[in-house]
Amino acid sequence: MLRFAKFLRKLEIELTTYRDGFQASVSERDKFDKDFVERSALIIIHPNTAKAFGLKDGQMVKVSAGERSLNLRIKVDEMAPENKALMPKSIYSSYLDSDKVTIEPTDDGVTTQDELLERYR
């Protein structure tokens, strides 16, 4: 199944959140700083999942949950389970608010805090 999915370049995967120490530390300092985006606007996948779907560490992806979507950076790390994607718990993960997401490559830049807040207005 993974081989076919590689050509679709769209990955449907379960999503789970976790508390990340680095993300928590930048939140303590300033939630409107670029470091906050760097540590929060992330989606982490397992190396085997990344390989199967042709995704690379640092690549920009559009992560969608129903009608909502965010542009996030991919982090490839074995702390993510093979069948799930991970996100640090923050306003980014709360915005998606879903246990299943679709990941596809994008050339657009990362969603900023201001863009995100605008969607709540």
């Binding site: 120490g21 303590e28 700083d33 389970p81 306003i91 709360s94 998606l96 608010d97």
Partner: protein, 365 residues
């Protein structure tokens, strides 16, 4: 030495001078170092005002409210929590701190789950289960105080005198520490694994990995489960803790145990949002925790935010009241994750404490 209020470890050995923060973890270091960055200002409907006018406006909103909820209070002192309790009683308000530990804390208060302290874990505990809690990230210095530290009866270091068990749904950073004299269980079914452990401890047969841990459990009188959000029936957790020894609830939220002790309950914000027209947020940011759809409903309410720093929710607030950072800029007491009361002596004295702000609001009603 100062106390860090970055998480519920409440480490009491932090040293600071003009440019350096020593002994704190990355979360605590940023709390101290970034203290003066992004501070909140008194605002009414987005316009800068003075703190008294902001408090007056908050009182005016609350007087007209038909249903109120108070959210947060995790980094508030016990004194501020008690003041919030008075406010909640006066307004018949709902209270929520966003923590999912209510059920297990209730069982602890009822005496159904035996607990222990961080110091006793350090001094006596042989097998240490870290169950569904990636403490390496959420409470970064905890294991330095419980697992890696040498204790009175544990003098030979963690590789010989401790046995580490990590249970999680994924190979977390904490799980990566399980090497020598250690086991890692990857499971999505806590209840099934707990059942296996109970069976094996009582003399039954289980999988090889479980039997190996149980052999270690039986070597010592003092073993402990340091638990996160264990997904199993409470009765089963109670039985398991009694078979193993002791429990420590690892809710990283700084004074979450104080919240449960003060209020004795939690009204989940997601479930009561239809019943309120005003939300008071104290020292927290629900936008990091609450899902989009519920948050959209919350943002239609009147919102009063008491916060030391600019938060996402403060951008939507009708009133923002800036407060001092508990433990750093104002004193009081908090309960550590193991329910030990810790006195906070602030290195700086600035701003208004949450206790004082809540008292002023109470006085105006």
């Amino acid at each position: 030495m100062w106390t860090c209020t970055g998480c519920s470890c409440l480490c009491e050995d932090v040293e600071i001078d003009e440019n350096t923060v020593r002994h704190a973890c990355r979360i605590g270091a940023e709390l101290f170092r970034g203290r003066s960055i992004s501070r909140a200002e008194p605002l009414v409907e987005g316009k800068r005002t003075d703190i008294d006018s902001a408090i007056d406006k908050a009182v005016e909103i609350l007087k007209e409210s038909k249903g109120v909820a108070i959210y947060g209070l995790n980094r508030s002192t016990l004194e501020a929590q008690r003041e919030a309790l008075k406010l909640a009683e006066k307004l018949s308000a709902f209270v929520d701190n966003g923590s999912e530990f209510g059920r297990i804390v209730e069982a602890i208060f009822e005496g159904l789950i035996p607990i222990t302290t961080i110091e006793d874990v350090r001094d006596y505990a042989y097998v240490q289960f870290y169950w569904r809690c990636d403490v390496h990230n959420s409470m970064p210095r905890l294991m330095a105080r419980t697992y890696y530290a040498r204790g009175k009866k544990r003098q030979r270091g963690y590789e010989e005198d401790r046995y580490l068990v990590v249970v999680d749904v994924r190979k977390s950073h904490t799980a990566m520490l399980a090497k020598k004299n250690a086991s890692f269980f990857k499971t999505e079914n806590d209840a099934e694994l707990i059942g296996e452990f109970i069976k094996a401890i009582r003399g039954g047969v289980a999988s090889g990995d479980v039997m190996r841990v149980v052999r270690e459990v039986k070597k010592s009188e003092f073993n402990v489960i340091l638990g996160g959000q264990i997904d199993a029936p409470m009765k089963l957790i109670e039985e398991f803790v009694k078979e193993v020894g002791y429990f420590v609830p690892l809710d990283y939220r700084t004074n979450s145990m104080g919240f449960f002790k003060t209020f004795g309950r939690r009204d989940e914000l997601e479930k009561i949002v239809e019943d309120i027209d005003t939300l008071i947020v104290v020292g927290d940011d629900p936008m990091d925790d609450v899902g989009f759809d519920v948050m959209k409903s919350i943002l239609k309410l009147k919102i009063i935010v008491i916060t030391p720093k600019i938060s996402f929710i403060s951008k939507f607030a009708d009133v923002v009241i800036p407060s001092a950072i508990s433990g750093l800029e104002c004193g009081g007491k908090m309960l550590r994750c193991d329910f030990k009361e810790v006195e906070l002596k602030p290195p700086f004295k600035e701003g208004f404490s949450e206790e004082k702000i809540l008292k002023s609001i109470n006085g105006g009603l």
